[in-house]
């Protein structure tokens, strides 16, 4: 067969979203790839410029629809720095709890999609079943299962319900058992190793040169985790290990993500204990009135108000489930951020697609892309 270009996307089972991977193939061998993004571009950075600080949180749920709370956390951290606000400690612990549960939820979603890519259907449904428990937890205190709109500049919207700690412990116990089952279904199968070992290799040097972060970078043996290296919220107060593997291949990424879920459970046991014994306020005091209100006034006049608050620039970096997310918020003294810029980890991970796809076979593309865990909402923003 002669060489040809095929479009894998925008609607294709491999994409896990809405993007187009153009692949040049010779028979079954991949010669070149060219990712085309932008099918899901909603201009979130532009819309943010016309919104109040707290209204932007709504958009953050839509950036990555499987890790909404992690993105809320990211934006809120940068905004608080730009607005010179310090949240109470209990709010910080609640945010950490949210982020870690979100990490588990996102990784289970990744697991379900990834195993489906290599033809394992059963674990897909196991994954979806267990992710529901995490969503139930979110529903118990945010009221939503996907678009939470929970965090606020200066704290969080409401405190956790009294039943939360018991429910969370039950979920954690259940998940600990299930992760063992997940491993048996994948690592116990020799076909899994045949499909995934030495596949999509991206060595540490290439990772760093191409800006690849998160589980992909840690699977190459680089021990880098912002929760350890640059602790935000109260990650300096909890005890956990950074998951690292050596293979730099698909199996290594699998191992890293599974270990990360176990470490998240470890963190969560500590934060849940802390939350049980330390009641307190969840919103900062002395906020500007428009920030303290649950919903800022919206209207044509609202946009025209110009008041003078202290200016500032905020930068935050969060270890999102997919990697290292960053936000840059410029506060020019009005109620709206002047400029918001987000750095999506998958944006960088996908930009290196040529490095880890060329030379493999067409049948290898789904497992490799699955191990990257693309979430197109946050790439296109």
């Amino acid at each position: 067969m002669s060489e040809m270009w095929i479009n894998m996307g925008p609607q294709h089972p491999m994409t896990h979203g809405l993007w187009n991977l153009r692949v040049r193939i010779d028979g079954e061998v991949v010669l070149d790839v060219d990712p085309e993004m932008g099918y899901l571009h909603r201009g979130i950075e532009k819309i943010s410029e016309d919104r109040h600080y707290n209204e932007v949180v709504t958009l953050m749920d839509r950036t990555c629809y499987v890790a909404g709370l992690a993105w809320e956390h990211l934006y809120i951290l940068a905004s608080e720095q730009a607005l010179h606000i310090t949240p109470p400690e209990r709010a910080q612990y609640i945010r950490m709890t949210c982020e870690e549960f979100q990490r588990i939820g996102s990784h289970i979603m990744w697991y379900a999609a990834f195993v489906n890519d290599i033809g394992l259907m059963t674990p897909f449904l196991y994954g979806m079943r267990d992710r529901d428990l995490v969503l139930d937890l979110f529903q118990s205190f945010t009221g939503a299962r996907m678009t939470y709109e929970y965090m606020r500049v200066g704290g969080v919207r409401n405190d956790l319900p009294p039943t939360f700690t018991d429910q969370a412990r039950k979920v954690l116990d259940w998940l600990t058992d299930r992760f063992r089952e997940y491993d048996q279904l994948c690592l116990g199968s020799s076909i899994f190793h045949k499909r995934c070992d030495h596949l999509g290799v991206l060595k540490a040097n290439d990772c760093i040169a191409h800006g690849v972060t998160g589980p992909m970078l840690r699977s190459a043996g680089v021990k880098r985790d912002l929760r350890k290296d640059r602790p935000y919220a109260r990650y300096d107060a909890v005890d956990f290990d950074v998951a690292v593997a050596d293979g730099a291949d698909v199996t290594a990424r699998y191992l890293v993500r599974m270990e990360e879920m176990r470490q998240s459970i470890r963190i969560l046991r500590q934060t849940v204990d802390w939350l049980e014994h330390h009641p307190g306020p969840v919103m900062a005091e002395h906020l500007p009135r428009w920030l303290g209100a649950p919903y800022a006034p919206v209207g044509r006049e609202g946009y025209l108000l110009k008041r003078n608050y202290a200016k500032g620039v905020g930068f935050s970096a969060v270890e999102e489930p997919h990697g290292e997310a960053q936000a840059y918020v410029v506060n020019e003294g009005t109620e709206h951020p002047y400029r918001v810029k987000f750095r999506s980890p998958i944006f960088a991970n996908l930009s290196a697609a040529r490095q880890y796809l060329v030379g493999y076979r067409v049948a290898d593309i789904p497992p490799i892309m699955g191990s990257v865990d693309p979430c197109i909402g946050e790439v296109d923003r």
């Binding site: 089972p13 079954e28 394992l120 059963t122 199968s189 076909i191 499909r195 076979r361 593309i365």
Partner: protein
């Protein structure tokens, strides 16, 4: 009364209908209708219709069986809402597909596009005309039934490739290429496994092969041939872990990407037809067909149609194992599949042929017993 056979049932039915019709018709027409030629011809038609209906019904039941089993493996319940325990779900799905339009891509070749799936289904259906399902329930003692069945079975890559090529879609084309490569590669070990059975049984006639298993079923001594046969059958049926031609993760839907409506239903239906053929062949060649071991009390086999009943039970159990494999294994890659086919399955098949030859020479093997003496 002698034992009912499929043909005797059809003939009796035909005769009854002819005489009932004849009693209300004038004498000239009555003579024509009740003449032996017309009754026999009509009996053949009834015979074919019975086989067709039974095959279709079984295939649909097989899909239900797979959905329920797969559901249980996945910690859910499968189809539940249409009919008792979802038994009628597949009929509903079939009607839905029947009502839908088949959209042909503008650049597709209409001849191949429509001919491919049709021929694929018809040839696969034809296999059931010659498969025996119980003693006497067959088309008669054709001496080479097994060979004929496998020959028809091997048509499939051609039709798949025709429909893939004429779809004018790159995914279809790649799926078709993979399908052809895989089916041709696994045809060889499949036949080697069959040859071992034929050597032991001394016949290509499926009735004889079942009869030869009266002392012990062949799966015990010919365990190698069984492994090779099942693996090759999985590849021929294009089921996980060998479902690369329609690997939905990379090829969307493989060679039937462009099909919708009734022609898509043809493909799906035929996939299960072939799965049914595979399970039936495993039962016939290795698990004693409709017979039961001699230590089973005769109560289990003495009632009418017991042979068909046990045959179906065995077939569904064998298919259940295929479903189990599907629920627990990931998919392999094309090159790995072909490497396993040529490097592992063919040597194993040759060894099993050798084992079969030894078995014929030795006649009796502990702990299985002896081959029946003709």
């Amino acid at each position: 009364m002698s034992q009912a056979t499929l043909y005797s049932v059809s003939y009796d039915l035909s005769n009854t209908i002819a005489s009932a019709l004849g009693s209300v018709l004038p004498s000239g027409a009555r003579d024509l209708i009740t003449s032996s030629g017309v009754v026999t011809g009509f009996a053949v038609v009834i015979f074919a219709v019975i086989i067709l209906a039974a095959t279709m019904l079984n295939t649909i039941l097989l899909i239900w069986w797979e959905r329920k089993l797969l559901g249980r493996f996945m910690d859910r319940r499968g189809a539940m809402h249409v009919g008792f325990a979802g038994l009628l779900q597949n009929f509903a799905d079939g009607f839905k597909l029947f009502r839908k339009d088949t959209v042909k891509p503008r650049e597709a070749d209409p001849l191949g596009f429509y001919f491919g799936p049709t021929a694929y289904m018809i040839t696969s259906l034809a296999i059931f005309g010659i498969l025996p399902i119980s003693s006497g329930w067959d088309t008669g003692a054709l001496p080479l039934t097994l060979l004929l069945a496998l020959a028809i079975f091997a048509f499939a890559p051609l039709f798949i490739f025709v429909s893939a090529w004429s779809s004018n879609n790159k995914y279809s084309l790649m799926g078709g290429m993979r399908s052809a490569a895989q089916m041709i590669a696994y045809e060889v070990p499949l036949l080697l496994a069959v040859v071992s059975v034929v050597i032991v049984a001394g016949s290509f006639d499926l009735n004889t092969i079942v009869y030869e298993q009266q002392n012990y079923w062949f799966w015990g001594p010919l365990i190698l041939a069984l492994i090779v046969f099942v693996a090759a059958m999985l590849a021929e049926m294009e089921r996980i872990p060998f479902d690369l031609p329609e690997a939905e993760a990379e090829l969307v839907e493989g060679w039937n990407t462009e099909y919708g409506g009734m022609f898509f239903a043809f493909f799906m239906f035929t996939d299960y037809l072939r799965a049914l053929v595979g399970s039936v062949l495993v039962v016939l060649l290795f698990f004693g067909g409709w017979t039961l071991p001699s230590w089973v009390p005769s109560v289990a086999t003495s009632w009418p149609l017991a042979g068909i009943f046990w045959f179906m039970v065995k077939t569904y159990i064998v298919f259940g194992v295929f479903v189990w494999i599907r629920a627990s294994l990931p998919r392999v890659r094309t090159d790995q599949l072909l490497r396993v086919g040529w490097n592992r399955m063919i040597p194993l098949g040759l060894v099993s042929v050798f084992v079969a030859a030894l078995l014929v020479v030795a006649k009796c093997v502990w702990p299985f017993g002896c081959l029946p003496t003709p």
